[in-house]
């Protein structure tokens, strides 16, 4: 199991477009990937668009990415890169 905390740095938060990007990246890996909002103990499958939007992850929220499977390290790295790049927004 690999975990990493990421912070949302784009002003708009995770709306439909970033969610689609996350799902696009997550779907490339076979590992089971979850996005977790620790404060509310909400865990959501990173391969589901509607799920990710439902998180309501806004600017400056911290999320925990947790992956389990053969390519978990790469998956977490790829997803945190996406957060780092602010989903190519701004």
């Amino acid at each position: 199991m690999t975990e990493r905390r990421v912070t949302i740095k784009n002003r708009a938060g995770i709306h439909a477009r970033p969610a689609a990007l996350i799902v696009g990246v997550a779907s490339n890996f076979v590992s089971k990937i979850n996005m977790i909002k620790e404060a509310e103990n909400e865990s959501i499958n990173a391969k589901s668009i509607m799920g990710i939007i439902t998180l309501g992850a806004r600017y400056n929220t911290t999320l925990l990415i947790r992956a389990e499977g053969p390519d978990e390290a790469e998956a977490v790295q790829a997803l945190s890169d996406l957060f780092e790049r602010r989903f190519e927004e701004e």
């Binding site: 708009a12 938060g13 995770i14 709306h15 439909a16 477009r17 689609a20 799902v23 696009g24 779907s27 668009i49 939007i53 309501g56 992850a57 806004r58 600017y59």
Partner: protein, 326 residues
Amino acid sequence: MNKFTVLDLLNLDLKEHDALDLRCIAGRSGLVRPIEIPDINRPGLALSGFFDNFAFQRIQLFGRGEYAYLEKLFEEHSFASVERFFQNEMPCVIFSHSLLPKDEFIEICTASGCPLLQTSLTTTDFSARIMRALSNMFAPKQTIHGVFVEVFGVGVLILGESGVGKSEAALELITHGHRLVADDAVEIRCVSGNILLGSGANKVIGHHMEIRGQGILNITHLHGVSAIRDKMEIQLVVHLENWDASKNYDRLGDLDVTTEILGVKIPYLKIPVKPGRNIPILIETAAKNERLKEMGYFSAKEFNQNVLKWLEGENARTLYLQNSDL
């Protein structure tokens, strides 16, 4: 395009408010004359003897005015301008209002080998209709391999490799009460610059479908007239392709993706096919969503706007709570 002759014009099978109601009353030998310019000319000036820039290549339309002027000419026995008029090789001469010219006129016309046609329509009506018919005939066209169906009143052109299941999807749509316009070879015409009209490339073999394992089916006989349609505007292009796991398919649908046919942009959707995905239902949904978009409601965009509003609201709330702490 093959030459479009006066005979083809007579044989155009146009109905109701498109009908030209033409009949040939003289000069049958000239019916093979080609129509090369999709326009008409009112020959008033030529009849009065002024032939500069006379547009003889066009269809010559005689209305009540020209007819009255001819009457006057013949009363005065001055045939010179009429004879000179017929020295030009015009596609044909048409009289509106079912007007019948004098025998002398018919003689000169027949002698020159020019077809003489008559219509019961008024000049205004006839010129509007023939302009429409000609611009359709002369419109740029293209034949595309695909199936064209009308789904909930939306013209959906289904494209894809052979064997991907286009015809089968269309067959199920027809069974659901939608209509087949053309199977396999769809002839597309670009009408008035921005409208794509699709129809069967061949009238004789139209509304038949080839289904693997069953052979050729006559849709009209199997499902009745309500299951077919002659022509329809293309409003959506759906591209079926075999599911490719390495491809990222559109998950949001918030972009206006279009494809270009004959220079006209048409909304375009790529639908991956794999067992368990019911393609006809997906096409029905796409057609309905397209109708919504046309009515100004764009599901994906509205959805995202609501999400953005919600996130913004939450942001503001957090900020407010932080400030009140101070």
